[in-house]
């Protein structure tokens, strides 16, 4: 009996020992790897996941004193206010989408054109200079871009108005005329992003096998025909994926840009107010947080749907470029 227990014990110990010997390393490894993930996960939890729960305040009458969970539920009231009759909800949503569409289109055309041009002369030393110059605006902060824009557009002494006067025209009050701003913002956005955007397409062009061009040259194709029938068709998948990925963010506005270009100039809101500026303004001027969070909720949820949809499309075209 005693012997039996003894052997049972040692057997147990042996099994445990065997288990540990096999797994000890793995447990230590897993523990260490977990530890490595911890800082990032903790920060994601605090700064990304906690705010997601804060989205519920879109359905509450938020009061600072009562906090997120203490404030009263009001159902869809906030949404009714902002998207109902006199609310600005649809206006800011439309502006967000409208400007993103403009930016995507002008960015695509501009970047592609620049990439083609630089690629045509890419063996020369000058091409590197052009590329560096076009890339430069990427490093300029939006604060400085806003100051640049003011130098061009200000009524007294602005470059554009000086040009208009020298052409015998009347100077324009840009900062009081909302109708010019879609054009202005499109130009500024293109200026800031065209060099950066062209890099992707240039990398795509570099990736095209020289043999295609050699074969075309032997067949007597000129440069234009080579671009038209070789480069462009081979770039189409890249163009589609880049465009789709940008479409995924169509409900997210560039807050820094709009905040610096327009600021809190209510004269221009009728054509330039986007979701992000509306929310930002409500937050900082202690406006209605309920309305702001309703707009933000809309943006987050519809934005999620857009990104998932476009990413699904990208995955079917080009798995490697997909977000996940």
């Amino acid at each position: 009996m005693a012997i039996a227990i003894e052997s049972k014990r040692s057997g147990k110990r042996r099994v445990l020992g065997w288990l540990l010997a096999g797994r000890k390393d793995r447990i230590i490894t897993t523990g260490n790897l977990l530890l490595m993930c911890l800082p990032a996960l903790a920060m994601l939890l605090v700064f990304n996941y906690l705010p997601m729960f804060g989205l519920v305040i879109a359905f509450k009458d938020y009061r600072f004193a009562k906090g997120i969970f203490g404030s009263e539920w009001v159902g869809f009231n906030n949404f009714r206010f902002i998207f109902g009759g006199a609310g600005t909800g649809w206006r800011i949503v439309w502006h967000t989408v409208f400007y993103n569409l403009i930016f995507i289109f002008t960015g695509l055309v501009g970047s592609l054109a620049l990439a083609f041009l630089i690629n045509e002369v890419h063996t020369t030393r000058a091409s590197r200079v052009y590329q560096a110059m076009a890339f430069l605006p990427h490093f300029v902060s939006w604060v400085v871009v806003g100051i640049f824009a003011n130098g061009f557009l200000r009524y007294d002494g602005g470059i554009v108005n000086k040009l208009l006067i020298s052409l015998g025209r009347e100077p324009l009050y840009f900062y009081q005329s909302p109708s010019y701003w879609p054009y202005i913002l499109a130009v500024v956005n293109l200026w800031k992003g065209v060099g950066f955007g062209s890099i992707t397409y240039m990398a795509g062009m570099m990736g095209i096998d020289d043999e295609y061009y050699e074969a075309a040259q032997i067949d007597g194709a000129n440069r234009w025909q080579q671009i038209r029938y070789i480069t462009l068709p081979l770039l189409v998948p890249l163009i589609i994926t880049v465009t789709l990925l940008s479409l995924g963010g169509i409900f997210r506005g560039n807050l820094e840009m709009f905040q610096m270009m327009i600021g809190t100039n209510p004269l221009l809101y009728s054509t330039t107010d986007i979701i992000d500026t509306f929310v930002f303004r409500s937050l900082l001027t202690l406006g209605s947080l309920g309305l702001a969070s309703a707009a933000g909720f809309f943006q987050s949820v519809v934005g999620l749907v857009m990104i998932v949809a476009t990413n699904w499309l990208v995955r079917t075209i080009n798995r490697e470029r997909a977000l996940y």
Partner: protein, 304 residues
Amino acid sequence: MIQAQAQQIAPRARRRKRFSIGKALIHVVLAVVGFLCVMPMLLVISTSFSDDLVVAQKGLSLLPQGFTTFTYEFILSSPAQLLRAYGLTMFVTATGTAGGILVSALIGYALAHPEFKLRGLFVFIVVFTMLFNGGMVPTYLVVRGMLGLHDNVLALILPTMIIPWYIMMFRSHFASLPHEIMESAKIDGAGEWRMFFQIAMPLSRPWLATIGLMYILKYWNEWIPAMMYIEDHRLFPLQYLLQQIVRNAQFLRSVRTAMTTQVAIPGLSLQMAMVVIAAGPAMFVFMFLQKYFVRGLTAGAVKG
């Protein structure tokens, strides 16, 4: 026939030698585009060296009008606020970049580890934040309300430190490191931390440079967190200070009262000199590090 063969052997070299009107035209167009891209900087620099009275009369110009260095002398005569903002921005950028790189590389390394069972779940946790977020209002309430990071330099560093995309870049890079090196290190008895710091990181220098520079650019140019969480002007980072100076005539007046001399206060040219001093040096440095940014941009194409 011979010509065709020559073309086959060195198509690029041949193309370069031949002068054509088309090529010349392309050069002209590109030169104009390049000039348009840098023109605003020229405008700012020339205005900063201009006589303010002339600028007020004649407007801005691409060439200095009534050349003077007065604005710079004026700013540099009482540089305390500017220097403090520079120092703060450098601190925020340095700690944010170092912290961001370390934290992202660590999790990137773990997520690339083939034996890590929780990989799938954690990748999802990281990627999901790219798709969905709470937005500005809840983030503000968490950072300012729950964490109490008001007028705290941490509010400029922590909330924007994790960038999921950089984590994924680190992950695909670590996954592409040769297995043999890792295996042999493991056989030699190296633990995960040692492998991370002594093998994986040193093998990643180009990536550390690229992602590090993207972080530096981000922190250097950032001002939204300052606008949301900072009211104490001693904690203003450079970009926010610049914005305040240019937007706020009151600030100019406070500078004037701080000055004991009776010199006239320059307007536009002073603002532009501020821009040059505050934004110029960093831009100059970034310009020479372009290739690293290009690498970061084309990385998406080889993402695993």
